[in-house]
Amino acid sequence: MFRYIVRRFLIMIPMLILISILCFIVIKLQPGDFTTQFLTDPRITPEMVNQIRERLGLDEPAHIQYLTWVKGIITRGDFGYSFAYKRPVQELIWERMGWTVAVAAATIVFTWVVAIPIGIYSAAHKYSVMDYVLTFVGFIGVSVPSFFLALVLMYIHLSLGGTAVGGLFSQQYIGAPWTWGKFVDLLKHLWIPVIAIGLSGTAGLIRLMRGNLLDVLGAQYVTTARAKGLHPRIVVYKHAVRNAINPLISIFGMQLPELISGTIIASIVLNLPTMGPFFYDALLNSDQYLVMTFLMLSAFMMLIGNLIADILLAWSDPRIWYD
């Protein structure tokens, strides 16, 4: 197992290099660069724009820019400099990491805690009224975009006299030391983003869990177990669910990159201090090293997530074995 993990890590290196080259090409394919936005500003002369381009190294050919960036990472652990913020990109990303991970983790926990039991219930009570109701809710969750759901939730909340809209805290608690009041205020704000962002994932998971479990419940060994006179609950939870949940573990691994990239539009609408809106801004401004670092981080999370999922699979399913 250890050798397997080491090998997976080694494979990640060429993968990341390839991904970085692709990302850089895509960034360079978009017309203009960071300085283009200045050309339309009456306060800035075109000479100034040229000076800025030169200073930022944007006048160099693309492959030189790329190699300089890679060299910085290898020799100094320096992921480059944000043109917009005049600061190293890793600092900027780190500053926003805390809330990004917190919101994403809360959302993922919500998704799983809600989806798995409902999925099991739906499968175990196939074609019952509740099954239809839950399936209906599930389809709404899958089909409604999260930013729209966010707007609707905020509208409902406001029209019922609530005031906690947008952001994670009321104004006076932002930046204040942690108190009970602050925590309650957080909970008052957090439910809208968690539901809005989490519902589509929840709905998808419910469908998957239900489908998988139905497959397993139709298997012969389940019929055998039932025929043996095992308690129905034990049949479902101990025998069937354990087998049905395997495919979901791989999905769990895929959710890791969402920790940082998440849902951008919903975060803007909900005014969350997370990485999504920040990344969106960087994309619009062609703040290239910030975008690159962000994409690399996202790719790295994806690779790690997959590895973790594979390891978890091996752990949960004795039939799977890597050497």
């Binding site: 017309p31 203009g32 283009t36 936005q37 200045f38 050309l39 339309t40 500003d41 009456p42 306060r43 800035i44 002369t45 075109p46 000479e47 100034m48 000076q51 800025i52 200073r55 917009a84 913020y85 005049k86 600061r87 600092e91 500053e95 926003r96 707007l151 905020m154 406001l158 609530g162 005031t163 809209v165 947008g166 952001g167 994670l168 805290f169 009321s170 104004q171 932002i174 930046g175 803007i268 609408v269 909900l270 005014n271 201090p273 809106p277 920040f278 801004d281 619009l284």
Partner: protein
């Protein structure tokens, strides 16, 4: 014992609060800014639509940062927020010599927010190494370079400083209102010219968002107190603020100024309605709903200010004079064609439908309320909505009606693409109205509705046929010569008046463009206000007659204000008054 005394002494030094300290010659703010004398205390919460990218006024081009820094830093002379006149700022007085080229400033006796005295050294340093630093991304080299030579600054003594202009410059004090003074003792380490081993671009790395707030010092009414990344910026009163109200109370009144960072307009509005944000700018679309809520007893009200400020920028329509298609190029350059188009614009309908009547007929492009520069004669020149006249003129140009469709002299159907920003609601709506008018004349119109960033790029690259764009109404036309003078980078509808070295090409200009070019050159070096107005009057008349761009409407300035704010009100002339340092919490 000795130790004990030392400890007590130390404690006294540490614990003694910084009492509000008035400058020896404070500036009394114009009584026109006050409805009543305010009460001290409370917090004012405003919205900011993006996070500041830095706190370095000269290191970035970022409106969020500017909004914050105008509370913290001051210019030598400032615009009176109530009248727009130039009034003393950090300079308490100034004189211009007879040649019009030497301006001597007497500085006010004030301190930076950390207690360091503000002196002539700070002024010379700011102007020479920061404002005029070509490596600073937000520099103003262009504004302070006249006739190819820079304005020079000289210290006479600690409180007197001289500016030596290469040529007389009429708008000099006006441009100075945008040159905020930064502290030499904090900025010096970032200046390449003064430190060995410092790279030229280092100036841009001063005062980034991770700089400790105690290092960001200013002379303004507020200082930075806290920045929570992407969530809020908090400012507190500067103990050394030199602005006072008419009764001599030190300003500001509020004890905290908070900017909440809210990217989405709808969320901003929701936060305003819930009372979390105290004052916002609104659009004509939101006005009726908020007004209804005000009348039914909400805890806020709306103010409809007359169009007296540069924003909202009035939209105009322009055609691309340098388009590749030779036939279209000739049409767009034909004065009669543009005249015909002006006849198709129903400004009153647009004001009614697009702006909910909260707009006026615009200037060309000087605001009618700008008495210092507005030329009322343009009202006679502007052509009213008249489709018959438009048809007649189109016929004269040779764009004739054939089977219900207008065709060009070559027999090709006349089709036009109108580009504008999809995310600027008024522009969008105007485009739709223009399309319907034009189709009525038989001109097939395609709308290209794209994001404002892309519109800007297409404009700069000259990739458009017709476009609806907007530039703000700067009070002094000279400050926007980059737009209005032919041969300048933003004279985008006729780009061939400028060569690849950004130099004007006089032979590519029409006769009247030549005249406009000369008028701006004359106005720039003229010190006599009457003569300057005469030059700019002529420019406005030429624009109204020749229509390089066709002005459509000027939206009013609309604000929604929580009832607990004092000193935010409509002045007699219809202007919304209310600065962060005169507002108080009732």
């Amino acid at each position: 014992m000795k130790r004990f005394i030392l400890a007590v002494l130390l404690l006294i030094v540490v614990v003694t609060p910084v009492y509000a300290q008035l400058s020896s010659n404070p500036a009394v703010m114009d009584p026109a800014l006050f409805e009543e004398i305010g009460r001290k205390g409370g917090e004012l919460v405003l919205g900011l639509s993006s996070s500041p990218r830095s706190f370095n006024f000269y290191g970035i081009i970022d409106n969020a940062a500017y909004t914050i820094l105008y509370n913290i830093l001051d210019p030598l002379v400032m615009e009176n927020p109530a009248t727009g006149e130039i009034v003393p700022g950090l300079a308490e007085s100034w004189t211009v010599d007879d040649s019009g080229t030497v301006v001597t400033f007497k500085l006010r006796d004030v301190k930076w927010s950390d207690g360091t005295p503000f002196t002539a050294d700070d002024v010379v340093f700011t102007m020479k190494h920061v404002v005029m630093n070509p490596n600073a991304e937000g520099n103003s080299v262009d504004r302070f370079t006249l006739g190819g030579a820079p304005v020079l600054w000289e210290k006479v003594d600690d409180h007197i400083v001289k500016a030596i202009l290469p040529v007389p410059y009429g708008a000099f004090t006006r441009v100075l209102t945008h040159a905020l003074m930064v502290p030499k003792h904090k900025y010096e380490p970032y200046i390449a010219a003064l430190n060995e081993g410092v790279e030229p671009g280092t100036i841009n790395k001063a005062w980034t968002t991770d700089t400790p707030v105690s290092d960001i010092v200013g002379t303004g009414t507020f200082v930075l107190s806290e920045y929570v990344v992407d969530q809020k910026v908090v400012l507190k009163p500067n103990p050394y603020s030199w602005k006072v109200d008419p009764e001599g109370n030190q300003l500001p009144y509020v004890s905290k100024l908070v900017y909440l960072i809210v990217q989405d307009d709808q969320v901003m509005l929701a936060k305003f309605r819930s009372g979390e944000i105290h004052r916002i700018t609104i659009t004509g679309q939101n006005y009726p709903a908020l007004k209804r809520e005000e009348l039914s007893g909400a805890e806020y009200g709306v103010l409809a200010g007359s169009p007296v400020s540069p924003v909202p920028s009035p939209p105009h329509l322009a055609f691309n004079w340098d388009i590749d298609d030779p036939e279209l190029r000739e049409i767009f350059r034909n004065d009669k064609f543009r005249e015909a188009v002006e006849y198709t614009i129903d400004r009153y309908r647009i004001i009614e439908d697009v702006y909910n009547t909260l707009a006026i007929i615009p200037g060309v492009p000087v605001l009618p309320a700008n008495t210092a520069f507005y030329n009322p004669e343009i009202e006679e020149i502007m052509r009213p909505y008249d489709l018959e006249k438009a048809k007649q003129l189109l016929d004269e140009v040779g764009i004739t009606l054939k089977d219900g469709v207008r065709v060009l002299p070559s027999g090709r159907p006349f089709q036009i693409t109108l580009t504008t920003a999809v995310n600027v609601q008024p522009h969008n709506d105007i485009a739709v109205i223009l399309k319907s008018e034009w189709e009525e004349l038989g001109i097939t119109t395609h709308l290209q509705l794209i994001s404002s960033t892309l519109v800007g790029q297409k404009r700069t690259a000259g990739e458009f046929e017709a476009i609806i764009e907007a530039f703000g109404n700067q009070p002094d036309p000279q400050l926007r010569k980059a737009i209005w003078q032919p041969g300048r980078p933003l004279y985008y509808w006729h780009r061939s008046t400028m060569d690849e070295n950004q130099e004007p090409v006089l032979e590519n200009m029409e006769d009247w463009e030549r005249r406009v070019f000369d008028l701006f050159e004359l106005g720039e070096v003229e010190m006599d206000p009457v003569q300057r107005k005469a030059y700019y009057d002529e420019w406005q008349a030429i624009y109204a007659e020749k229509l390089p761009v066709i002005y459509i409407a000027k939206g009013m300035e609309l604000a929604a204000v929580n009832n607990k704010l004092g000193n935010v009100f409509l002045k007699d002339n219809g202007q919304i008054v209310g600065t962060n340092y005169t507002i108080f919490i009732k």
